[in-house]
């Protein structure tokens, strides 16, 4: 019984793959699948699909530390990312398109992060929210022995949002930039006209 419990507790040790990735960065082979060109190229269809993907980014409920609170605030009444169609925080990675890494990733969490990223169906996007996720932040000091210095060493990151923690506006800006990256067109559209009744 004790043995069984111990082995259960040891599941997420700093896996070999994570160690390699954080030392050397991720290899292209690790990323294949998500960004492979399709067999048939249909430009118009791609354009439409990309526009759709950009405007319905469903984030995963995956808060790690301080920035998670600002991520929650983003979904709340004041800032309300539902205006851009991304308030549907899905608890299951299978149904989400966007992983907002909101907080510090350490060696114990790194394999979990990888698993979650790989459980998300393609196309998937990652936003590194906050200094810890961008580069290790205030923990990138001599005494640090556990924090992974930047989540981009483990998984490919699309948009970086620095700050400690960033204001919710910065996260919205990050989502808008991600939309621009996906669809090539910046939301909101048209740029500076308020919709009536808002």
């Amino acid at each position: 019984m004790a043995e069984q419990k111990k082995s259960l507790l040891r599941v997420h040790s700093y896996a070999k793959e994570c160690h390699e990735r954080s030392e050397q960065g991720y290899s292209d082979a690790a990323l294949a699948g998500g960004h492979q060109p399709g067999l048939i190229q249909l430009e118009l269809a791609d354009k439409i699909l990309n526009a759709c993907r950009a405007n319905s980014l469903w984030p995963m409920t995956f808060g790690i530390a301080c920035c998670a609170i600002e991520m929650m605030v983003c979904g709340m009444a004041r800032f309300d990312i539902s205006r851009f169609g991304s308030e549907v925080f899905r608890p299951s990675p299978r149904q989400s398109d966007l992983m907002i890494v909101a907080g510090t990733v350490n060696r114990k969490l790194a394999p979990v992060l990888l698993t979650l990223y790989e459980q998300m169906p393609a196309p998937r996007y990652v936003i590194a929210l906050g200094n810890c996720a961008v580069s290790g932040g205030p923990f990138d000091v001599e005494a640090n022995y556990d924090v992974v210095l930047g989540v981009d060493k483990l998984i490919p990151v699309d948009v970086y949002v620095p700050g400690c923690p960033p204001r919710p506006e910065a996260l919205i800006e990050g989502i808008l930039q991600l939309q621009e990256k996906i669809a090539g067109k910046r939301n909101p559209f048209p740029q500076n006209r308020m919709p009536k009744g808002a």
């Binding site: 439409i48 699909l49 526009a51 759709c52 993907r53 405007n55 319905s56 709340m76 009444a77 004041r78 309300d80 539902s82 205006r83 851009f84 169609g85 308030e87 899905r90 608890p91 299951s92 299978r94 149904q95 398109d97 459980q119 169906p121 393609a122 196309p123 939301n187 909101p188 559209f189 919709p195 009744g197 808002a198």
Partner: protein, 326 residues
């Protein structure tokens, strides 16, 4: 030649019914999805979808297309055939109950003598789909969700049927049109207790909050559809919305007089406007309570059913029988 002629109008009717059913299912999912997100927004004092199309009108269309274009993940240790089958089992039968629902005096697939039984029978296939989905996913959370859904649906079908039976005793017919026609006074006035019981059972049958134990987000991540992605997930969602539509239709037929309402001049199909209005009133209610109440616990849910709803609906049925038959 003779036979073909006699069959031709029937074929047209079938085609029309199928097309109509598809329109209702997909249209309802879009309208309901939009309504839910927008209403949720305003219940919480925010705007909801806003930037995608005028006031976010295109949001649901875009979500649908996105879900279709997502990768379909099948977990390595899942039971593949069953895993693929579950969303289809859930989604395919939702067309059938729409056939017997009298949307107006003229719009009805066919008037079945046992319309009510037909609807309830088909509606319970959904729970099979949930069970299959939970089992095939090979995920403990899904499994929990599936078991809860089965227990819940089996339990709540009883008071639901009993409350509706009270009305069947009054009208002496199972035919939905017959029931609509029998209502000189809306049955909500004559049978308020049955109405309230039906209302509660309706929420439980569709697995909506506060009885959404099958997909209890904070306990079981996403419940029975934890492992489903992309299109199969959206099939589940569409089935859920259509089931909501169907139970609301039944409520309208049984308690709010179906198509009755102030007739509009020069319009033969005026009934459908009233009908849909009432249906969406129920849908609004479902959304309203979802964004107001917390979730109940599983044993409390069962308590509510066996200790309160079942005895009260039985008593209600007895009283109805005594009053009607004496």
């Amino acid at each position: 030649m003779q036979t073909l002629n006699s069959y031709a109008p029937e074929i047209i009717r079938i085609v029309m019914a199928v097309v109509g059913g598809a329109v209702v299912v997909f249209g309802n999912a879009l309208v309901m999805g939009y309504m839910e997100r927008k209403l949720a927004g305003h219940f919480q004092r925010r705007t909801g979808p806003m930037e995608v199309g005028f006031h976010g009108l295109l949001q649901l269309v875009i979500d649908g297309i996105k879900l279709m274009s997502k990768q379909l993940v099948i977990p390595a240790k899942a039971d593949k055939p069953l895993f693929m089958l579950a969303p289809i089992i859930s989604f395919a039968p939702v067309f059938l109950p729409l056939l017997v629902i009298p949307f107006s005096d003229r719009i009805q697939g066919f008037d079945l003598d046992v319309g009510l039984l037909f609807v309830l029978a088909i509606a319970s296939i959904n729970v099979l789909a949930v069970l299959v989905a939970g089992w095939a996913s090979n995920n403990k959370y899904s499994m929990f969700g599936a078991f809860r859904a089965v227990a819940q649906n089996v339990a709540y079908e009883i008071p639901m049927l009993l409350s509706l039976l009270a009305i069947v005793f009054m009208t002496n017919t199972f035919s939905l049109r017959g029931i609509v026609e029998a209502q000189t006074v809306w049955f909500i006035v004559l049978q308020p207790v049955a109405f309230i019981i039906y209302l509660i059972c309706m929420v439980a049958e569709t697995n909506r909050a506060p009885f959404d134990l099958a997909e209890a987000e904070s306990e079981l991540t996403a419940g029975f559809h934890t492992e489903y992605s992309g299109m199969s997930f959206s099939l589940f969602m569409m089935a859920e919305y259509t089931n909501m539509f169907i139970v609301s239709c039944i409520a309208t037929v049984f308690f709010l007089g179906g198509t009755s309402g102030i007739p509009l001049p020069y319009f033969e199909y005026t009934g459908i406007i009233w009908f849909l209005l009432k249906v969406y009133l129920f849908m609004f209610f479902l959304v309203w309570i979802r964004w107001t109440y917390p979730r109940t616990r599983f044993d409390q849910l069962m308590n509510l059913c066996w200790k309160y709803l079942l005895p009260i609906s039985l008593v209600n049925l007895l009283i109805t029988v005594v009053v009607v038959k004496l």
